[in-house]
């Protein structure tokens, strides 16, 4: 797998960070994402991203309970996988090393 595929993009990284705090379903992830980034995220876009992340192995999912308020549709809960955690750490390391290099440049 290429290095690029191992690293999450900005939206994926934010979702991974949200899932660090435990299992969440789509709407919870969307609400937390919007709260933290102050950017709108349509549920459709979210599920496309979640699908892609699942394909990459960053996440695991399971179907949860249905609810009359949801028209009998079950929730889909997502959890962080070991690979997702690893990719988040890779991203963090890459950002840290960039920051260190920037700080090491002498200011004239």
């Amino acid at each position: 797998m290429s290095f690029r595929k191992l690293l999450p993009n900005r939206r994926e990284a934010m979702i991974l960070a949200i899932l660090l705090h435990g299992e969440k379903y789509g709407r919870e992830i969307r609400n937390l994402y919007e709260e933290r980034t102050k950017l709108g995220l349509p549920i459709g876009s979210l599920y496309v991203t979640l699908d892609r992340m699942e394909d990459k192995g960053f996440l695991h999912s399971r179907h949860g309970e249905s609810d009359p308020e949801r028209g009998g549709n079950r929730r889909k809960y997502y959890t962080l996988s070991a690979s997702g955690l690893k990719s988040l750490n890779l991203l963090r390391e890459a950002m840290d090393s960039t920051r260190r290099r920037e700080q090491a440049v002498p200011v004239n």
Partner: protein
């Protein structure tokens, strides 16, 4: 009213009776929507612009059925007969196309051909404001989770006192993008313009 990325959308004029908070939300939604279009490759935008997609495909989809999509990869082309208003998805595998005449729920105005396309099984649970109004393509893979989340949103918005028009707009926006993100750029662009035009025209007509 023809819309394109080049045209300026005057949201204040389009929704004169919306309160300032709603106006702001409409604007945010429109900007996000147009931003999605802007992400399309430049070449595609040019090609589509030459064919005047936004005017050619101004069609009435109000009576279209709600359908689900089992695999967007099968869509190769999206064509519209401007006279009859017939919408046709041209598939890579024509054998799998569904004959709409066999399904009484497809009406005469709009024909949507899609492999295994069928009305959503739970359409009675969809909000009244969108039922029988629009053709939505909901990817099967996350249909249950997505529609469930949307219905939770709808309940919350109703509790929050939002109007039905606003709620239907939000729902259209969410579902529209759900479908479009996985389609090819051509289908995405056309469907998006149809959605925008239809939504705006409906509100303007009310």
């Amino acid at each position: 009213m023809a819309l394109s990325t080049q045209n300026c959308i005057d949201v204040d004029q389009a929704f004169p009776d919306a309160d300032p908070h709603e106006q702001l939300l409409f604007k945010t939604a429109f900007i996000s929507w147009l931003a999605e279009i802007e992400r399309l490759p430049r070449q595609n935008r040019k090609r589509l612009g030459r064919h005047k997609v936004h005017t050619e495909y101004e069609i009435d989809l109000i009576n279209a059925p709600v359908i689900e999509v089992n695999d967007e990869r099968f869509v190769r082309r999206f064509s519209v007969d401007s006279r009859s208003g017939e919408v046709r998805f041209v598939l890579s595998d024509p054998i799998r196309a569904v004959d709409p005449s066999r399904d009484p729920t497809f009406d005469d105005h709009v024909t949507v051909l899609y492999p295994n396309g069928k009305p959503l099984g739970f359409r009675e649970s969809l909000p009244e404001c969108i039922l029988n109004r629009s053709a939505f393509l909901v990817p099967r893979r996350h249909r249950e989770a997505l529609v469930g989340d949307l219905l939770e949103d709808v309940s919350e918005m109703r509790r929050g006192g939002y109007g039905e028009r606003f709620i239907s707009f939000v729902v259209i926006w969410h579902i529209g993008i759900a479908a479009l993100r996985r389609c090819g750029p051509t289908v995405r662009r056309i469907v998006m313009m149809v959605c925008i035009n239809r939504s705006l025209r409906r509100w303007l007509a009310e």
